[in-house]
Amino acid sequence: MTPVTQVEGKPRASTGTLPKKRLRELFREMLLIRRFEEKVEERFRAGDLPGFLHVAIGQEAVACGVCEALEPDDVIASTHRAHAHTIAKGTPVNAIMAEMYGKKEGCSGGYGGSMHLYDVARGNMGANAVVGGGLPQIAGAALAFQLRKESRVAVAFFGDGATNTGAFHESMNLAQLWKLPVLFVLENNGWAESTPATQQLPLAVEEMAQRAAAYGMTAMEVDGQDIEAVVEATRSARDHAVSGQGPVFLNVRTYRFTGHYVGDPQVYRDKSEVRQLRETQDPIELLRARLGMTGEEFEKVDAEVIAEVEGSVEFAQAGTDPDPADALKWVYADGTMEPASREHSA
């Protein structure tokens, strides 16, 4: 395993501070995400699911590791590849699967779909289908926390492709300028849709922390296939951010085992590369080995999560179709914002 490394300073070994019991729970969560995404791939190919989908198979440890290190009041903004983040932030799979089916019971009430999963009560400010689109809003959420002196962080997930957008650079600049409590979590899988890093990044994948250096921002290099490393790095980044020292950029090296979207024939990519990654870099297999799980133990957990996912499909299929005219229901909020109460008045 690559140790957790601060870009400047000495490499720090993963200290293994997570209790075994908690690691096993995280293993279950990662496996749940994997089985959930395999299921949505299957149901999409079967023609059950409208729209189009992006899965994060291979990147589960990033979502689970980051969210493990957050407090319940912390908020995230996700990307078009949103299922893993949403599950990791605590949304039940039933609500997510129901959203895939466009049902009222979905986590966005059938208004969002796979790329617009929201769960505001659990701190999920929404998945964004515009690459980089959520980043400035995460800076704004962090500004609200800072202005109200709340000990909370706002976390932006994004890919390496997003680091080429203006929204990314303006958000990084603003967050560092104002020392906002933001974690910029780069899920660095080396692909912008079908375009490899070599064709879209002037920096090597392992040099991406230079993006942060350009803004004077603290950066960390993280092995995204090692969930313990992700948890530790995120905890340390969170401590930094809430202490008023400013945002942290996490260059989380990870791998996308699948195509950009479900059904992507991946003509741009060597099949043997994917096979090799699955054999050597699967975060679930790596954790399973570390936990020393027996085949029997694995089968037991696997059967549980498969049943949970199957249950979510049944839940979704039995869900309620929205009234077509409800499409107009949330265009505007009614009324006015309540004036400030006396106690909060200046």
Binding site: G126, A144, S171, A333, M337
Partner: protein, 326 residues
């Protein structure tokens, strides 16, 4: 009733709201010590401090995007985009993000964000500092669009925009900042979606926005000398539109001119014309005339700029055309 300028009226609405509510803060380029490029926020940093009157980098995506994020997290931000031409830079955040969060989340999210901006011709700023782009935003569901033309209106409408639970694009006009007008002693919020009849008339309705409200009033005075009675209506809120007042006016007068500084093609006048022909088809005695700018990027030389944008004389000519007295 005190008399204040349009600029002072904007500042007064912001200051009064901020005094009573710590959720409200301002962000924008040069708004602190400099007081904004138009001097609107002049002096406010002394009263409210740099935390709440925040100078930003030149980053229109981040200004609007951070406003959205803070709004979702319970603040009532007012962000300033120095010139409405620069709204184009923040268009993604406005159109795909601010306008859509509420629907995409199935009603979980409110975005009580006010985006103040200004623009307009009349001082030769050239093609990138003088556009009138309000109609672009009227086309986007989820946004509210306000364009105030008097000190009283700008003060009352800005207050309502700040407290509206939706994203509001709030247009001010560059050349209106120095104009003076009476305002009520106490700030009276003006509800969004209510038009104002500035002047009653019986022969033709001029539905005008922004600077053209004043041009229309001038044209109405001229027309009166010829015995033409002109009604001047300012929608004030372009989205949602007070169709009832506008259609009602045209049903009464049977003729209509729309007037704005933005270019005619695809302008807000087209929307007004569509609403009016549908709501007052049997009442119309003449084709609806549209007054607006020439279809060209605004040229620099004062004579060319002056040629491109409409004035009272253009409104008057349109009024006469509806009466076949051209």
């Amino acid at each position: 009733m005190p008399e204040i300028t349009y600029r002072e009226a904007v500042r007064d609405a912001l200051s009064q709201a901020m005094r009573g509510d710590e959720r409200i803060f301002l962000m924008g380029e040069d708004i602190a010590e400099m007081g904004g490029s138009m001097g609107v926020t002049s002096g406010m940093v002394a009263e409210f401090g740099p935390e709440r009157i925040r100078n930003t980098p030149i980053s229109e995506i981040a200004i609007v995007g951070a406003g959205i994020g803070a709004a979702i997290q319970g603040m009532l931000p007012v962000v300033e985009i120095m010139y409405e031409d620069f709204l184009t830079i923040s268009m993604e955040q406005i159109v795909n993000q601010a306008a859509k969060h509420r629907t995409m989340s199935g009603g979980q999210v409110k975005v009580p964000l006010t985006i103040r901006t200004q623009g307009g011709a009349g001082w030769s700023p050239g093609a990138q500092h003088a556009q009138q782009l309000e109609s672009w935003f009227v086309h986007v569901p989820g946004l509210k669009v306000v364009f105030a033309s008097t000190p009283e209106d700008v003060r009352g409408l800005l207050w309502s925009s700040i407290y509206d639970p939706n994203p509001v694009i709030f247009f001010e006009h560059r050349t209106l900042y120095p104009i003076k007008g009476q305002v009520p002693d106490e700030l009276e919020p003006i509800p969004l979606g209510k038009a104002r009849i500035h002047r009653e008339g019986t022969d033709v309705s001029v539905i005008a926005t922004g600077r053209l409200v004043h041009e229309a009033l001038q044209a109405a005075d001229e027309a009166e000398k010829d015995g033409i009675s002109v009604e001047v209506v300012d929608p004030r809120t372009l989205s949602p539109l007070d169709e009832e007042t506008i259609v009602g006016s045209v049903r009464k007068t049977t003729r209509c001119v729309t007037a704005h500084e933005a270019v005619v093609q695809g302008g807000f006048g087209a929307e007004l014309a569509a609403v009016i022909q549908h709501g007052a088809f049997d009442y119309l005695d003449a084709p609806i005339e549209r007054v607006g700018a020439q279809f060209a990027p605004l040229a620099f030389a004062p004579v060319m700029e002056d040629f491109c944008v409409p004035h009272a004389a253009d409104v008057l000519a349109a009024i006469r055309r509806t009466l076949a007295r051209a």
